[in-house]
């Protein structure tokens, strides 16, 4: 019987963050990713060891700027944040308590967060409270993932808002839609986690607002501006995806016995596992590659290479895949277009279209 711990082996685990969970929900059908994440495996290290390092990196300028902005917003017990919350939520907040949960030490943080949130929900204090660095947890496919958001939860009168601080700019009230969408997806993970916590404690989960507060720099300056973002849609998607996500136990059962994704780090921490062996083990867990993976998953180059070797039409993107109506391989689609292959049952319509398309292309190009 495989277990997630055995899958990870001797490599130290890597905690989840909301970004990973949001991305997981974006491609819920990918068993490989679900297993790697579920087992807390450092995908970046795996990809690098396999010779397919992920194309992500963050510029030191971007990191500096992000940290600078966050510390600006949180300076003096979140004074600046409070001013914005007052304006945005129209709250008559006179005084606000500030709890930095990070100060209590990592092993106690989750318990401490629970206790604080429980008390706040129970007492419904009139005074507002800001919770910095709360440690939340979320059940993912039958396993508990801990989230360490750098966000703040704000409660007033027993009602909670998630505050998410991002360093992309809002210029004249408009921001990069992709960046906002990613922030909303992440915030939805926190809303869900906080709601789960409240429910567990016997409170009404809807005390957590579906409107999150997004704090970004305004225009070209460093001055923060807050806006409310409705994440109901993201919540619905996330909840559905998490519920639908094949349980890890079933995925585990589908793997060959004794399989492991262990990197076998040596004394210096460098992986010693033979690359061919590791990549064979990984191929045992089916991936569902899509070009979107290139911006979300550390394993993307490995899976893309695999899709290339298999001649899968996934390479060309979901749009092409959808257009081909279930013809999975490039060779199959071209065979149908050239009339060299007979359509299987249910493929008659797409085969007719492909043959027609091929005839038209030839006519126009010769």
């Amino acid at each position: 019987m495989n277990t997630l711990d055995a899958l990870r082996g001797t490599t130290p685990p890597r905690p989840h963050d909301a970004r990973a969970i949001a991305a997981l929900a974006a491609n819920p059908g990918c068993a490989r990713r679900a297993l790697l994440d579920g087992a807390g495996i450092d995908k970046d290290a795996v990809a690098r060891h396999l010779g397919f390092p992920a194309p992500f990196g963050q510029s030191p300028f971007a990191i500096t700027r992000g940290n600078l902005f966050e510390s600006l917003v949180k300076a003096d017990g979140c004074a600046e944040l409070l001013r914005m919350l007052r304006e945005l939520l129209g709250l008559p907040v006179a005084e606000v308590a500030y709890h930095d949960v990070e100060n209590v030490g990592a092993h106690l943080r989750h318990t401490h967060t629970r206790a604080l949130i429980d008390r706040a929900a129970r007492e419904g204090q009139d005074a507002g409270t800001l919770y910095d660095h709360p440690l939340l947890s979320l059940e993912i496919a039958g396993h508990t993932a801990y989230l360490e958001p750098d966000v703040v939860a704000f409660q007033l009168g027993g009602r909670f808002h998630i505050v998410e601080i991002k360093s992309f700019a809002v210029v004249d009230g408009q921001a990069d839609p992709a960046a906002v969408a990613a922030a909303a997806r992440q915030a939805a993970v926190y809303v869900l986690a906080l709601r789960a916590l409240l429910e567990e404690l016997g409170h009404d989960p809807l005390k957590v607002s579906h409107e999150v507060v997004l704090v970004c720099p305004e225009n070209f300056a460093n001055r923060p501006v807050a806006s409310l973002v409705d994440v109901r849609r993201q919540l619905a998607v996330l909840r559905r995806q998490l519920a639908r996500m094949t349980t890890l136990d079933r995925l585990l059962a589908g793997l060959p016995d004794d399989v492991t994704f262990d990197l076998r780090p040596g004394e210096d921490g460098r992986p010693t596992r033979p690359v061919a062996e590791l990549s064979d083990a990984l191929r045992g867990a089916t991936a569902r590659y899509a070009p979107d993976c290139l911006s979300t998953c550390d394993m993307c180059f490995f899976c893309r290479d695999e899709a290339r070797q298999e001649g899968s039409s996934d390479l060309l993107g979901r749009q092409v895949r959808d257009e081909l109506g279930g013809v999975a391989s490039v060779a199959e689609a071209l065979g149908l277009a050239d009339g060299e292959r007979d359509p299987a049952e249910g493929q008659e319509e797409i085969a007719r279209l492909l043959r027609n398309a091929e005839r038209l292309r030839r006519e126009c190009l010769t």
Partner: protein
């Protein structure tokens, strides 16, 4: 994307080289385009880092902000950029033609117009942001910026907005135009990488294209590894020369790719529609120049209700016209409509050139044409048709079925009792007809901006330049 393009992508993957998806060039290419590759500082909204630009491939100009966080240097950079771009743009204003208009005064239109070519759509977006961060500045007053910077901001804003216009070529991005003409064997997402797309078109896919050490990103974002290992230490060292040379290594490869893109595109013959759209671009450009000459205020941060509605209507019309013109200009684009049954092509097998309808004075000439086609026609009797072979002609579908289509010609046969010679296709001729025609609905009448109803926020406030705009932080 259509099934035809998807098939081309599959074929590209199989053959290991990009496949054409157009037979003519659907964008106008200037004889003297300005290639513009901007780079921005990571993590910032619109902090310029460098730009390589110029109209001569042998002599690129490199402009660098050697200390990217220094506000004065940033404005000095913008002033240098203005020194390059403004003379280029304004150089097109000298030679004009007078255009007569119905129901309006004639106007002067520039004979040629500027064309900015950036690597990718992100380059267009960054240019627009550069425009936004500079157009409200003032060269006088308590927070002066160098001369030319506010004007540059207004031109960049104009060009950035114009780039969103379907078919406009005043500012184009290389990856988008290349992808409009060639289908690679990778996804649309990966096509946004200029080096990768060009490799597919010229030599076949190459992993080098994604290696930032071989082909640095085409901007505006820089490679994070370069930022950490080269740029940050160079800035730290305080040596202007070191920063400049570091950035040159990131821009020069893209510079070569940009001109390679220009060469590839100019290898295709220009479609007639591209010339027509360029004429509109020239008109728009002259309009903008006249606007500036009249001392109009900078473009507002947000469009007013009336301006936004008018812009949207213009863009919708431009999109519809663009789609029709491309199909009429290019059999490979028309093939997409043939595949969906909105167009058909085939051989004329029978004609009745003197067919008429009606009696006495209302008797009209309606020549009948029967066409044999292999295309799946999905058009109802009575549908109006047009044809790329005879642009002025109008026709109507009479019946279609079993590979035969009968249509009658309704327009464009001359005024005589019989059809003008050549108006009715001959037996044996190959023809193509489509329900796609250039007849669009006119745009709705919109009130003047001053009469914007209260439901739409009332008249937009007039722009009053103030010091707050002029001193807006740019960090």
């Amino acid at each position: 994307m259509s099934l035809l393009t998807s098939l081309a992508r599959l074929r590209a993957l199989e053959q290991g080289i990009a496949q054409p998806v157009a037979t003519v060039r659907h964008c106008h290419l200037s004889e003297r385009p300005m290639v513009f590759i901007p780079l921005k500082l990571s993590g910032e909204a619109a902090a310029p880092l460098a730009a390589m630009l110029g109209t001569d491939r042998a002599r690129p100009r490199l402009l660098v902000v050697t200390q990217p966080r220094n506000r004065d240097l940033r404005f000095a950079w913008a002033a240098e950029l203005a020194g390059e771009l403004l003379p280029y743009i304004e150089g097109f204003l000298a030679d004009t033609e007078t255009v007569e208009r119905r129901n309006a005064d004639p106007y002067e239109r520039a004979l040629d117009a500027p064309q900015l070519i950036v690597p990718n759509p992100a380059g267009v977006a960054f240019t627009r942001l550069l425009g936004r961060s500079t157009r409200f500045r003032r060269a006088d007053g308590p927070y002066p910026v160098p001369e030319g910077v506010p004007l540059l901001g207004r031109w960049l804003t104009y060009l950035g907005e114009r780039a969103a216009y379907p078919g406009s070529c005043l500012m184009i991005s290389a990856t988008e135009e290349l992808a409009r003409h060639w289908a690679s064997g990778q996804s649309a997402l990966e096509d946004a990488n200029l080096a990768a797309l060009l490799a597919w078109i010229t030599t076949g896919p190459s992993d080098d294209a994604e290696d930032p050490l071989v082909w640095p990103p085409a901007g505006p974002a820089t490679d994070p590894g370069f930022d950490a290992e080269v740029l940050a230490p160079a800035i730290e060292s305080g040596s202007d020369e070191r920063v400049t040379e570091a950035l040159r290594t990131q821009l020069e490869p893209t510079w070569r790719l940009m001109w390679q893109s220009v060469d590839l595109l100019s290898g295709l013959p220009e479609a007639p529609g591209a010339g027509q759209r360029w004429e509109q671009d020239r008109g728009s450009f002259s309009g903008m120049a006249a606007h500036l000459a009249e001392g109009a205020p900078p473009q507002p941060r947000r469009d007013g209700a009336v301006a936004a509605a008018a812009k949207l209507a213009r863009m919708e019309r431009a999109q519809a016209a663009y789609d029709v013109q491309r199909a009429y200009d290019d059999p490979l684009i028309m093939a997409e409509y043939r595949l969906t049954g909105e167009a058909f092509a085939g051989e004329v097998i029978e004609t009745v050139p003197d067919n008429t309808e009606g009696e006495g004075r209302s008797r009209k000439l309606r020549p009948l044409v029967v066409i044999k086609t292999d295309d799946p026609v999905r058009l109802a009797p009575g549908t109006s048709l047009g044809t790329p072979e005879r642009r002025g002609q109008g026709a109507e579908l009479v019946s279609a079925g079993e590979g035969l289509v009968t249509l009658k010609i309704t327009k464009g046969m001359g005024r005589g009792k019989t059809a003008a010679p050549g108006a009715v296709p001959e037996v044996g001729e190959r023809v193509c007809y489509t329900s796609l025609t250039g007849d669009f609905q006119g745009s709705p009448a919109l009130p003047e901006a001053e009469a914007t109803p209260w439901t739409h926020g009332g008249p937009p406030p007039e722009h009053v330049p103030d010091d707050e705009d002029a001193q807006e932080e740019w960090s």
